[in-house]
Amino acid sequence: MRVPVSWLRDFVDVPVDARALAETLAMRGFETASVDDRPAPPAPPWGPGAAGAGDAVIDFEITANRPDCFSILGLAREVATTWRLPLRTPGAAPGLERQPLGVGESDVVGVTIEDPDLCPRYAAAVADVTIGPSPAWLAARLEAAGVRPISNIVDITNYVLMEIGHPTHAFDLDRLGGHALRIRRAKPGETITTLDGVQRTLEPEMLVIADAARAQAVAGVMGGAVSEVSSSSRRVVFESAYFTPTSVRRTSKRLGLMTEASARFERGSDIAAPLVALERIAALLERLGAGRVVGPVVDRYPAPRGPVTIHLRRERLASLLGVRVDDEDVVRIFRGLGLDIVPAADGWSVTVPTFRVDLVREADLIEEVGRHYGYDRLPPIFPAPASPPAAPDPRVARDGQVRRVLLAAGLSEAFTYSFIEQRAHEAFGLADEAEVVAIANPLSGKFEVMRRSLLPGLTDALAHNRHHQRRDVRLFEVGACFSASAGEVRKAGIAWTGAASDDHWSGTRREVDFFDVKGLVERLGEVLGVPLAVEPAAAPMLVPARAARIVVANPPFAWPALGLLGQLLPAVAEARGLPAADAVYVAEIDLDGVWAVRQALDRAAGTTAEAVAPLPRFPSVVRDVSVLVAAGLPASEVRGTILANRPGGLVDVAFFDRYQGKGIPEDRVSLSLRLTFRAPDRTLTDAEVQRAMDEIVALLAREHGAVQR
């Protein structure tokens, strides 16, 4: 809302310069986009509002709840309240004249409201006019306010619009078929060419102003070209109405047409303003010598609405603001804002005029007092807690722990977009339409579907860094993934390419491999309190035989896979902009799933889960053994076989070597195991340990055809 300060002076004697005015009103809720100085405009006939060499235009940002301040008058009211100054209202001062108009039936124009829900009030006045240019002072004011002057009649309606905030419209009466104004819904398929020259197709949801034959204006949005006031117009009918905000908003949105009028009607105009606006128009016609109103105003207002009265309690005011405001201040503020206030039980009874559509309950009134009392005068008081704080969301600590582990492993944290292109899902084999959650109104193809996985985004982040001369990139992200069947699930994703560790002068470089990423998965399982294992599995995005799924190790209950890991297919990496020659290892874990397992395990274990075991009292014996087994046999099966039988005194099985090559048959692999034996009640003898070793070798021979080396 562009406000020339000189125009404001019609209503109130602004006591400060434009910048001070802007700063002060900002603290009353009216932010300023700009303050522009301009030369003194041509003075209006009733004399310059203030002596001075120049003027300024302040561009205020009006919040959606204050349509009354989409006007010079509305802001003048705020100025008057702020500086405790008298406000000159329309009809009460030079330059603000209202020409009293009688209300009755017109013998020239017929006005019918056919849909009073969408148009609760419609007033019209006929005038004989002489079209011409506006005087310089009026044109200058409109221009300063950002409105282009057109002709005296159109300019008068715009002047009143800016001045008191009420939109009106002038029709060329002689272009209205049957001299009729029918306020009705559009007919299906009905069209209108609006003032901007665009032909628009209307819908029955939309309200129009029609003559006997067709739509002549889109109600509250824009007039039609046919009945537009032109240089040949002799008689016009001025419309001054109240349209239902939701209807105007819907129509404006559907047509993609936002106007000065629609902006005001959709936020809520003053239902008492139509007659005032016509009386201002009549006075301006006279002042400009542009014509005169003939006959009475036709005022269709089937269900008149009055002001609303709200009870304001003194105690409530004090307790919500946290400060006691003097009664005189309360009364002064409301009177200044144009509200009636009288004492009532334990407070006041406040009557809200129809132009303040935002004031509907007590809290709204308290804001008005706070606003003009000044938020800066409220003391800052830290509120004492009334109870101990509630337990935090366990995900916060969990995710923090995951972050710390991965950071300490040398991975940096990425934040990637939650929406990705479906093509990325396709590359990763995640494009299943039944699972993908698409965005109905995406901004672009790049952000069209919700990610099912963190890995496409992380891979793109690797590619970005690779394109900026970083060959070694280790990233992770903790974030939500979305799918139709699982809903919103928090996951941790890892993507790693290049060196396994930071380069150092002392060592040789090793490239990342499967076991680097697997190690991270195992470490995460450890810190999250869920032993995780991986088992071979295929995934469309992963290199076969370097792919695995993450499962709960030795689960006491059935549980679905909790994620996957492996080497990204070179074709997938390439599709996302990485060189196919770079090995990229990825992993993804469902953190919510892991957490659910953890809780189930805790429930199963009871409270003893964290109890400390006594330290062993007798020494353990360690023996190594190497066996040849089939090359395709997973090491975990060998270990599983031993642990399942657990011959006397065995407490641990570890692998310390896996060898294939010279001296080993081609389809075989040599596994070296380190076995630890211990008894709780005595030191084991060599003979006992040897017996157990023999048993294990025999067991492996039987189960896996293993041969001791």
């Binding site: 900002a26 603290m27 809720g29 932010e31 919040t63 959606a64 905000p245 939701t246 908003r249 936020r267 919500l320 603001l321 946290g322 809290a363 706070g370 606003r371 938020y375 409220l378 003391p379 800052p380 008081i381 830290f382 509120p383 807690p385 009334a386 704080p389 509630a390 337990a391 969301d393 366990p394 916060v396 950071l407 300490a408 492993a409 040398g410 991975l411 940096s412 944290e413 990637t416 977009y417 939650s418 959650v437 698409a438 109905a440 109104n441 970005h464 900026h468 939500a480 139709a484 699982a486 809903g487 919103e488 699930v489 560790s501 930071d502 150092h504 002068w505 919510d592 957490w595 809780q599």
Partner: protein, 362 residues
């Protein structure tokens, strides 16, 4: 004939020889030449002193002894200097880089969020999180924004093409599959305020929570806009909670988060779910309010929106607005990170360029 000059010549000769000694061997040679018991220069000098005229003897003896001491000291110093410059078996070059354990970088948005969480936890707030996929009730209707409300225009929303099952979590833990399936989400939350509603629906007052999280708007990415960003919502509900309490809470936060001298400025504003509402500016920490480039000369930086919870919100969640009052605020995490670190392009936060990420302290 022995005299002081002769002793001084011996001294000069010694120093020249010492300077030429660059190895232990050289040094041993010099030592032998001067200090050998038999045939050494000093031994010879002492004999000469003993045979000098009795009147000169004490003075010459003194000079000779002084020269002997000096030679011993110089030789020892030279020996130490040579030893220092020589590699010792098993020596390390301590100036080579150490083997630093790998350490990744926290994302700058996580750093800011962690700091805020620490402060608010200390102020007695509980951290909770909420779902990013939401329904219209929690995101709008319950926040006093019915379908017809013009405020829904203020934030252009991204909608899901098909309803999605709710998240697997509630504020108190995992939920059943049945409950999850009955709960259908249709949009991406435009603010973390939706979690106010979820939390109040499931908890009785008093409430003191902060809700960090990801939010979405239908904005094309540019220098200052992103279709995805992060907020931290705060909500405090109790009996007798006032706007003055809101000021006290935010001031305590600001002084720890930004600068101990921070001041706040509350400007009246409008949000559908608070009444009264305010925008809050913080005094610029770069210039302490004097005006500088960061604050564009105003001395203030806009930092968050807040207000007293609208009674209609309490009604929507089943709290008695007569008994309880409270306040809420919403703060942009990117906004704080941008101000703190002078980031000039919001898109940098989502490019994950290590050259950017590695600039932030661990």
């Amino acid at each position: 004939m022995l005299d002081a000059d002769a002793i001084e010549r011996l001294r000069a000769e010694f120093l020249a020889l010492l300077n030429g000694a660059t190895t232990d061997r050289d040094l041993q040679g010099v030592r032998d030449r001067y200090l050998a018991r038999k045939g050494g220069v000093i031994a010879g000098l002492m004999k000469e002193v003993a045979t000098a005229a009795p009147a000169d003897r004490p003075r010459l003896g003194q000079l000779a002894n002084r020269l002997k001491t000096e030679i011993e000291e110089q030789l020892a110093g030279r020996r130490d200097a040579l030893a220092a410059g020589r590699p010792v078996a098993g020596a390390v070059d301590v100036t080579l880089p150490g083997r630093v354990p790998p350490l990744g970088r926290r994302h700058p948005l996580t750093r800011v969020r962690d700091r805020m969480e620490t402060i608010f936890t200390r102020l007695g707030f509980t951290i909770v999180e909420g779902p990013e996929a939401e329904d219209e009730f929690h995101c709008f209707d319950a926040l006093n924004m019915p379908a017809s409300h013009p405020a829904r225009d203020m934030q252009d929303t991204l909608y899901l093409a098909s309803g999605m099952r709710g998240e697997a979590w509630t504020p108190t833990g995992p939920r059943t599959h049945e409950a999850q399936a009955a709960d259908i989400r249709t949009l991406l939350r435009t603010h973390t305020s939706s979690m106010q509603v979820r939390y109040m629906q499931t908890h009785e007052p008093p409430v003191r929570i902060v809700v960090p999280g990801r939010v979405y708007r239908r904005d094309n990415p540019d220098l200052t806009h992103s279709p995805m960003f992060h907020q931290m919502e705060g909500l405090l509900v109790g009996e007798g909670i006032s706007l003055a309490n809101l000021k006290g809470t935010l001031l305590a936060f600001a002084r720890e988060m930004f600068a101990p001298s921070s001041r706040l400025r509350f400007r009246p504003s409008f949000f559908p779910y608070t009444e009264p509402s305010a925008e809050v500016d913080i005094s610029c920490w770069a210039c302490d309010g004097a005006g500088c480039q960061q604050c564009k000369g105003t001395g203030w930086l806009e930092i968050l929106g807040c207000g007293m919870v609208h009674p209609a919100v309490f009604e929507a969640v089943g709290y008695d607005p007569e008994k309880y009052t409270g306040f809420a605020w919403g703060m942009g995490i990117e906004r704080v990170a941008i101000l703190r670190h002078g980031v000039d392009d919001i898109r940098l936060f989502f490019e994950n360029d290590l050259r950017f990420l590695e600039q932030f302290p661990v």
